[in-house]
Amino acid sequence: MAYAPTTRHLLRAKDLADARYFESLDVNDMARAAGLSRAHFSREFRRAFGDPPHAYLLTRRLERAAALLRNTDRSVTDVCLSVGLRSLASFTTSFTRAYGVSPTAYRASFPPASHRARIPWCVQRAYGRPRYSTFR
């Protein structure tokens, strides 16, 4: 078997978190992707990337959630589920800890997603045109 340094295995776990954060992924799955025992994996991951794996996975999810809050009009519950988190209460708590404001307040601090979406003028013109009606 070709030699691959541990960091390369750890990167596989990091890539997994980046790619599949919206699934019910946990540190065990990351350790499996790296092919290391859980305790050894957590230590080595932290040494290589600065954060323990659970923190990396959570902040990846929170970063994606923040983007969805800014760029979509999905409900906070939907955003929470869309990033692979099951509990709305713990999502709200960890989001608030990371961003200093609740998900709702974070969203309110940006212009509405429909303004940020930059929907092309040709689309607005086509879809905004009313149906012709002869009724009064």
């Binding site: 979509t72 009009d73 997603a113 979406a117 905004g128 012709y132």
Partner: protein, 141 residues
């Protein structure tokens, strides 16, 4: 400088397309907004994680008054026949992308094959649109 920002793909069902492009192909949601003032038009875009300024808009085939019924039917037909448009994607390892996507149930119409320009494969989205996935030959870059 002129750049490509967004390309459009007609889709049958936006929710199905969204699930396909994010969960199976691995793209990010860039924008998902529904506008009541435009007859509940939904602007839904996805893009690759590494290319924040490029997106694909997954456009539902509209009804009247935007598009008359006959035209909508024609577009639906073209799409089902695979002639409504193609997206050309690249990857640095087509064999591993192929296996990963196939494992998630993506319907490949062509397995990775050596071509003069690289290793090329093709799959379809749920609506029938053709998507190419290519590992370009590095020496031609």
């Amino acid at each position: 400088m002129i750049k490509i920002s967004t390309a459009q793909l007609w889709v049958d069902d936006q929710d199905e397309a969204l699930e396909f492009w994010t969960q199976k192909i691995g793209m990010e949601v860039r924008s998902d907004v529904t506008l009541p003032e435009l007859g509940d038009f939904r602007w839904l875009t996805v893009g690759p994680a590494g290319q924040p300024d490029t997106a694909i808009v997954l456009m539902a085939i509209p009804g009247p008054p935007v598009m008359d019924g006959e035209t909508a039917e024609q577009v639906r037909n073209l799409m089902a026949k695979g002639f409504a448009g193609t997206i050309f994607l690249t990857t640095d390892d087509v064999q591993s992308s192929y296996e990963e996507l196939k494992g998630r149930g993506v319907e490949f119409s062509e397995e990775p094959e050596e071509r003069p320009y690289g290793i090329d494969s093709g799959f379809r989205d749920p609506a029938g649109n053709s998507v190419r996935l290519t590992q370009p030959r590095e020496d031609l870059a």
